[in-house]
Amino acid sequence: MPFIPHTETDVQQMLTSIGVSDIADLFDEIPAELRIGSLDKIPTGLNEMAMSRLMHERAAGPQPLCFIGAGAYEHHIPAAIWEIVTRGEFYSAYTPYQAEASQGTLQLIYEYQTMMAHLTGMEASNASLYDGASGLAEAVLMAVRANRKSKSKRILMPATVNPAYRRVAQTIVENQGITLEVVDYQPGSGAIDTASLPAEPGDVAALVIPQPNFFGVLEEVNGLTDWAHAHGMLVIAVVNPTSLALLTPPGEWGEQGADIVCGEGQPLGVPLAGGGPYFGFMCCNLKHVRQMPGRIVGRTVDADGKPGFALTLQAREQHIRRSKATSNICTNQGLVVAAATIYMTLLGAQGLHKVALKSHQNRQALCEQLQMIDGVTSAFASASFHEFVIQFDGVSADEVLDRLLAEGILGGFNLSADYPALGEAILVCATETKTEADISAYQSALSRVMETLKGSAA
């Protein structure tokens, strides 16, 4: 029996001790009419050999060169990370309820909190939320709770925030009567026009500021932050953690800095893996820490006075506070956080800076080369991080992407569904994993594709 150690003798001894004659007797409190007959639609068991072969077949296939970003980014992942993370002691432990038996996990999270706080320029970090999108939803809920100056449930949500994040936030916050009001971007720059923000926005709980925004474009975070604070809003920053090695940390935006910082942790050593598990990070300053959802680890001392670590501020959490908790989150993304912690440790500030810089340079090079192709224009000339938008003249973005794929290239993410105003447009990403050769490969493939499509159109 897979994974069950019982011998016939064990079973007999145990049944005798219990005083029943059959395992079935242990289920005698379940009303007979409820018992299942069979599970016909479930295939019979496979041994590991057969399963392994099946999964190898399913994992096989060509691996195209990937220029898609749009919220999940291909970065180099040091081999050491997952070799350590999948050690049984991390992999098969759970939430560190028994602190003395979980110092490994606890210290690691404390170190993670420290790294994230320093990276974002904030004073506190939690131990993770599910992902960047649900993390933003939690940030919105937190902002409504935390903004003492405002009674409002209105949130200003720029159109330049990842549309998937906006959808998720909507799903999660709408049940509490919170409204997300769209702030539009400037068609020329792909960013929010600080100048055109209303002088009298009314009572609003928070402004969300993405940096970089979904188009890869950098927002005027300082002006936006100051404007929001001037109108009694909190500022929720949604940031890419890699970019923070290069860009002003939210804690330093404008005069006072952002109030809540959240984002997707995936770029920090987490494989693309079809979309998860990733993790959402969240940071804030100490004055708001009691409103923060999620686990937090604190350093303390043991009975001998030696430093040690334990979960802290648990009175925010569902297992203590139940219906009054800051969130319902319980299981989080701990193992992925372990990966990110090791990633940041292996890279260090210098290494992360190089990753950010190289990604940015690759984006510049690729964008430059692509927009030289006939029929291809760059949508925005603004400063960007590692993504950009290109528009196609007279050909369908879907068609272009299909043909690029036939050449072994994942060309980008089609924006037409989310941003119809952009026409036939895609979002392209180049990280540090791309070589000069990769960039030329894209360039020449797209040239060929555009020529063919133009030709067939003509």
Binding site: L26, E111, G276
Partner: protein, 498 residues
């Protein structure tokens, strides 16, 4: 021999090992001279002024540090871990290995599905397996943990009532034994929570339920087996009461391990269920997560399932989005949930197969009943002595706390010295000095016997050397930690000035 022991030289926080200027050139991209220059394309006002404080250590220092940290954990792979409600069973290594094949790891979530048909096939088949084993009509895999599954479920209940214009239902009923996520979720979905008591035999107080229920009731959140480790025998009656009142039944699937392949929530009358794949389907708990909390629904809630879901037409698999499912409560994650966790659960389910599922229930219940009976024979008090255990059961140490001033917490800490992770303590809250013990099916009899012996020994220690027990543990990387100080003198970020 303590006088001869030495604190390890290696055990500070990583920042204490950091030295400015150390770096792993091997892990950073190579930049040429022009590339290292400040990017002129970015205005100075948006550039970071000073480098963040991240550790600057060599690769070996990092590997050594985190390897040593890992050794300070108890885990399933190293210790018996009978943490009630958490189903700490063996996580097969094949599930990890196969879910981490490069073809899966490198798959971008927004890549065309044509390039990920193998991956999609796994998810689709997992949906089908979960439907069958829970008796629900449709499953969405996207929730990223139990609590998010609960959210999805309650949001669907709300959407259902709303869709029928039945908008006055503002209350959700929870037993007092419910897991904290249940009331917290109900509130996140905009509901008020009404608690009903648990009877002395562990079942719900049906009279109280009848009193609590009414036209304001949106639904009830139950686990069955419940968090007190017994099977709610009158579930069909409860379902009828709730349905008759126009409410829906939510099933918290955290305890599915006890009934897998034996009885199905769908057949009990539940309208919506979440599963904790990190429990019943053996995906790892990872020091706190990630998990996965798929939701299954009965016919009437089908339109509201969260997206994306996987659809199959013959041999081709594709995502169903809001476009395909306009009444969906929407998206819960940026992509499709904790895909890698789902892959592990899928592999586990296929390894078990149809015939393996009921065995999970049988042997986890056998282990729990055996431990319960043996502990009782050794003189421990059961919270619900008249009942069968399910996959878990409760010992109450109220007597010990009163008579000997040795609490459940003290027992828990002393168990660590004996090489066992402690059971869940102080949950459910209604049982004083509570030990919720869940051995799972993957533990052998000798291990259970060892734990039972340890409990008996600690009982003896409590009677003869209570002070010693109260100061446990002694043999772990830390002695007992000061929680109060942790909260009062908040130190949650390391500062270099120290």
């Amino acid at each position: 021999m303590t006088r001869n022991t030495i604190d390890s030289p290696q055990d500070g926080v990583i920042f204490e090992k950091s030295h400015r200027g150390r770096s792993n050139s091997c892990q950073a991209p190579q930049l040429n001279a022009t590339e290292t220059a400040v990017p002129l394309s970015i205005p100075a006002s948006l550039l970071r002024k000073s480098a963040p404080l991240l550790p600057e250590v060599s690769e070996m220092q990092a590997v050594r540090h985190f390897t040593r940290l890992s050794q300070k954990n108890f885990s399933i792979d190293t210790h018996f871990y009978p943490l009630g409600s958490c189903t700490m069973k063996y996580n097969p290594r094949a599930c990890n290995r196969l879910a981490m094949l490069p073809g899966f790891l490198n798959y971008h979530p927004l890549a065309p599905v044509e390039t990920g048909q193998g991956f999609m096939a796994c998810l689709y088949e997992l949906q089908e397996i979960l439907k069958e084993v829970t008796g629900m009509k449709a499953v969405s895999l996207t929730p990223m943990a139990g609590a998010q599954g609960e959210f999805a479920g309650m949001a669907m209940i709300r959407a259902y009532h709303d869709a029928r214009g039945d908008t006055a239902r503002c209350e959700v009923i929870c037993p007092d034994a419910a897991h904290g996520t249940n009331p917290a979720t109900a509130v996140m979905c905009g509901y008020k929570v009404k608690e009903i008591p648990t009877r002395a035999d562990g079942d719900i107080d049906i009279e109280a339920l009848k009193e609590a229920i009414g036209p304001q009731t949106a639904g009830i959140m139950l686990t069955n087996p419940s968090t007190v480790g017994v099977f709610e025998r009158r579930i069909t009656e409860i379902a009828k009461i709730v349905h008759d009142a126009g409410g829906l039944l939510y099933y918290d699937g955290a305890n599915l391990n006890a009934i897998l392949g034996k009885v199905r929530p769908g057949d009990m009358g539940f309208d919506v269920i979440h599963m904790n794949l990190h429990k019943t389907f053996s995906t790892p708990h990872g020091g706190g997560g990630p998990g996965a909390g798929p939701v299954g629904v009965s016919e009437r809630l089908m339109p509201f399932l969260p997206v994306p879901m996987v659809d199959s037409s013959g041999d081709h698999y594709r995502w169903l989005t809001r476009k395909d499912r306009p009444q969906s409560i929407g998206q819960l994650s940026a992509f499709a949930g904790n895909a890698g966790v789902l892959m592990r659960a899928y592999i586990y389910a296929r390894l078990l197969g149809r015939e393996g599922m009921p065995r999970i229930a049988e042997y986890s219940v056998l282990n729990a009943n055996y431990m319960m009976v043996e502990l009782q024979k050794r003189g421990f008090d059961l919270a619900f002595p008249s009942r069968r255990a399910t996959h878990e059961f409760i010992v109450t140490l109220k007597r010990q706390a009163k008579r000997l001033d040795v609490t459940a917490m003290d027992f828990a800490k002393r168990l660590l010295d004996y090489g066992y992770h402690a059971p869940t303590t102080y949950f459910p809250l209604l049982v004083p000095e509570c030990f919720l013990i869940e051995p799972t099916e993957t533990e052998d009899k000798e291990t259970l016997d060892g734990f039972i012996d340890a409990m008996a020994k600690i009982q003896h220690e409590a009677e003869t050397r209570a002070k010693m027990v109260r100061a446990a543990p002694y043999t772990l990387p830390s002695r007992r930690l000061d929680d109060v100080r942790a909260a009062r003198e908040l130190d949650i970020v390391w500062n270099s000035k120290e």
